[in-house]
Amino acid sequence: MNDSTPAAPATDSPSLARPQQGEMPFAVVLGKAMTELPRDLYIPPQALEVFLEAFEGPLDLLLYLIRRQNLDILEIDVSEITEQYMRYVELMDAMQFELAAEYLLMAAVLAEIKSRMLLPRAVDVDEEEEDPRAQLIRRLQEYERFKKAAEDIEEMPRLERDTWVASAEPPDLDRARPDPDVDMRELLLALSEVLRRADMFESHHIQREALSTRERMSEVLEKLSGRQFVPFVSLFSAREGRLGVVVTFLAVMELIKEALVEIVQTENFGPIHVKARSE
């Protein structure tokens, strides 16, 4: 660690931790707005940080250097670019060593390429190994594609800047909430639960027959509602057959037992009338 570098722990200052990741490519340095990249290699030390932020990393810096020479990536003069690149990195080094790690790595790559180019080529050696220059070119090309893609995305029409979703006031709404669904099993479980709670689960038996009787009880009561006397016979329907008649009869008996209906016969063998007790 270089003790002389200004203390800039990554945790304290996000802008220094990854300067090349800064949200703003340019900033105000010593009250002066940086609107352009430096034209020559001299970077005022105070501006280095800002300068670094202008680049998205070593690949971006390399691309910048290549472009400044009006060169195609494929024609880069590794020697010259390396010289320039190293001078930038030296500046960084003097400033803030830890900021420049990724740049230093690139410097090493460049130095390796340069040294290889100086050596005579052995055709049949290292067939397997990729030419570091080709690898660098490929990385630069690949990076450049996405740098361009990012620019394209920036240009794409987008919401809140170029267009807005149209909306209008909805009409007054009658928001009927749909009815909940009920599964028969829920009903059964509810019943079992309530009966168990009532401690009736063991002792209470409801017979299948009783149910149809109870249903008929409801029907009879409904027929009687709001009326004085209803002829007993009118409660029966021949269409229902014998079973129906029996169920109705049992229902009426049950209603009488529960004191829900009153049964009236004014004379022997006369017509029987039924009346709801509470009406």
Partner: protein, 237 residues
């Protein structure tokens, strides 16, 4: 209409729709650089054109207290309202218990339900069941207060795909359901049933009765201690 007037109309339309709220004539004017700002009269004229162009469309220009805004036509409310249709909620356990008691013990009064459940039945539950047309008052018991007696309705039977109350699963089946419940590892039977219904059974009602039978026979098969034929009560299908 001149070109600039047509442009003004478009800008007003765009701004009102982008804002999604009412804008005053002054606010519309502020969309323009001072040098190009149309007069209030021009803006009002343009608003009149905007309004005209809404004829026969799904929306109209309205002037409200806070300015002008586009509104979707009231006549479209039946369709548009479906955009906000809320998901149905689940019924409370209290409601289901009340409904079960009315179904199985009808005709039954509220007092009788409360006696069995051990807690008061809220008026909301009775109201909800009435509104759903699942219960009806079939008479009044001749005791002090003449309480209403409740029974289930045809709509109730229709909803559960039953021809008559006989087709309600017999209480004996509940034991199997309890087994099923335990098998499914639900600690709280009813809450579990609510959740479980969605997952285990496709909740579509026509098949509900059949699934219950399946459930009961499954439970029976998996539990040999269950001596009684679990299919017997299900035979009412």
């Amino acid at each position: 209409m001149s070109e600039s007037a047509s442009m003004l109309v478009q800008i007003i339309e765009g701004a009102l729709l982008a804002a999604g709220r009412a804008l005053t004539v002054a606010q519309l004017g502020e969309l323009f650089e001072e040098a190009e700002r149309p007069s209030a009269v021009e803006i009002r004229e343009a608003l009149a054109v905007v309004s005209e162009r809404c004829e026969d469309r799904g929306f109209e220009l309205c002037e409200v207290a806070s300015g002008f805004r586009f509104q979707v036509r009231q006549s479209l409310s039946p369709w548009v309202a479906r955009l906000w249709q809320e998901r149905p909620q689940k019924y409370s356990r209290a409601l289901l218990e009340t409904l079960a008691l009315i179904a199985y013990r009808q005709p039954i009064t509220r007092g009788e339900i409360e006696e069995i459940r051990g807690v008061a039945v809220s008026s909301n539950i009775i109201k909800t069941l009435h509104e759903r047309d699942w219960i009806r008052v079939v008479g009044h018991r001749d005791v002090p207060g003449r309480p209403a007696m409740y029974a289930t309705t045809r709509q109730f039977l229709d909803y559960f795909n039953l021809k008559n109350l006989d087709q309600l699963p017999a209480l004996a089946e509940i034991r199997d359901l309890e087994t099923l419940n335990a098998e499914l590892g639900f600690s709280e039977p009813l809450a579990a049933a609510n959740d479980g219904a969605d997952q285990t059974i496709s909740a579509d009602l026509p098949s509900a009765a059949a699934s219950t039978e399946d459930a009961s026979s499954d439970a029976g098969d998996s539990d040999s201690a269950d001596a009684a034929d679990p299919r017997a009560p299900g035979g009412a299908q």
